[in-house]
Amino acid sequence: GDKVKQSPSALSLQEGTNSALRCNFSIAATTVQWFLQNPRGSLINLFYLVPGTKENGRLKSAFDSKESYSTLHIRDAQLEDSGTYFCAAEGPNTNKVVFGTGTRLQVLP
């Protein structure tokens, strides 16, 4: 089932613009991870979050466990940001994570 819903499913951005990706959870998520899957297929760790926010360069992420969602903000998008972004939620009493369906991002020059 759709325990982790990601939106949008696809997105095109002009270089230098900003955007936000979102994950909504129907499970009681305790932690959230965000990954970028590059064109070679490798999953690159972006953020690991307990409830709260983190920032790393042009990326910022927030996780609200009470409202059951997480966001990933991309500022000043660059061509190398292109790829598929996945969020993954860890439920209570388990270490396995449930992945969202991904957001395919294309940054255009």
């Binding site: 932690t31 991870q33 990954f35 070679r40 297929g41 490798s42 999953l43 760790n45 690991y48 996945f86 993954a88 860890e90 388990t94 270490n95 396995k96 994570v97 449930v98 992945f99 369906t101 991904g102």
Partner: protein, 113 residues
């Protein structure tokens, strides 16, 4: 730190043959996870081990699939009598005791003809 190592990177088998996929977790990590990625199903959890003990195999197909972790430095995923629908990228991840953040290997692309 070499990260999670998976071998082979690509494997092609004929229908009915056996496939064994290998994963070497990051040194010192106590948990190893297996996932499968397809276009249709996305990223699906298969099974995981902690300190070499199987913890949760709820995502494993009931037949033909098995996973083992004989020592702390490697885990294997074995698929017997492979079928075309087993074609996928199989991903292995590991995490430490202190922090549950998972780090993924490059995956093994299995193609069953």
């Amino acid at each position: 730190n070499a990260g999670v190592i998976q071998t082979p990177r690509h494997k092609v088998t004929g229908k009915g043959q056996e496939a064994t996929l290998w994963c070497e977790p990051i040194s010192g990590h106590s948990a190893v996870f297996w996932y499968r990625q397809t276009i249709v199903q996305g990223l699906e959890f298969l099974t995981y081990f902690r300190n070499q003990a199987p913890i949760d195999d709820s995502g494993m197909p009931k037949e033909r699939f098995s996973a083992q972790m004989p020592n702390q430095s490697h885990s294997t995923l074995k698929i017997q009598s492979t079928q075309p629908q087993d074609s996928a990228v199989y991903l292995c991840a590991s995490s430490s005791d202190r922090v549950a953040e998972q780090f993924f290997g490059p995956g093994t692309r299995l193609t069953v003809l």
